[in-house]
Amino acid sequence: AQSVTQLDSQVPVFEEAPVELRCNYSSSVSVYLFWYVQYPNQGLQLLLKYLSGSTLVKGINGFEAEFNKSQTSFHLRKPSVHISDTAEYFCAVSLYRSGYSTLTFGKGTMLLVSP
């Protein structure tokens, strides 16, 4: 079975501070990993993805994530957050079964940026 764990349901942080949103996954095979952001009352937008190659992945809006195979983690980081980064962030793993793949999502982490 494959699962995704986002350890923090909510992360409060002050503007311009660094932030890390944690994601751990369990899988017995190689995986594809994704981070999505959901702004209030909107759909999900892809932030970044890891398919293969360099373990440090850069995405949109200044976010980056590092794939760590030994720790089965894919933590999301930003060195300096803005008020506009306030949103729900979802980590997802591509699950391969029956010849096809689908995404399994974590429960999400709400990033709350205050002035």
């Binding site: 999505y36 959901q38 010849g99 096809y100 995404l103 999502f105 429960k107």
Partner: protein, 112 residues
């Protein structure tokens, strides 16, 4: 310019009614999906179609029936709506089943 669109954006209806949600993508993708997001923001896959063929059907009640008239459209019909069906439903598409998915804006369904 909208990549994945859904209609309607909001849907309020009474228990027992039948309703449909439509989804269209103009990205030329082969694979489309329906997800349900509950009140706690948890996202769960419901269905997936690849080239108009159903490839993933999670443990969803038979009252939910997806239909894909062509590769660009995946509609969701729900019979005999129940209170527990209240949620936000997201459509998504991807170039292939294993690549990143692009999501629509969601349809907020409220069953009273």
């Amino acid at each position: 310019d909208t990549a994945v669109s859904q209609t309607p954006k909001y849907l309020v209806t009474q228990m027992g009614n039948d309703k449909s949600i439509k989804c269209e993508q103009n990205l030329g993708h082969d694979t489309m999906y329906w997800y349900k997001q509950d009140s706690k923001k948890f996202l769960k896959i419901m269905f997936s179609y690849n080239n108009k063929e159903l490839i993933i059907n999670e443990t969803v009640p038979n009252r939910f029936s997806p239909k894909s008239p062509d590769k660009a459209h995946l509609n969701l019909h729900i019979n005999s709506l129940e209170l527990g069906d209240s949620a936000v439903y997201f459509c998504a598409s991807s170039r292939q089943p294993s690549t990143e998915q692009y999501f629509g804006p969601g349809t907020r369904l409220t069953v009273t």
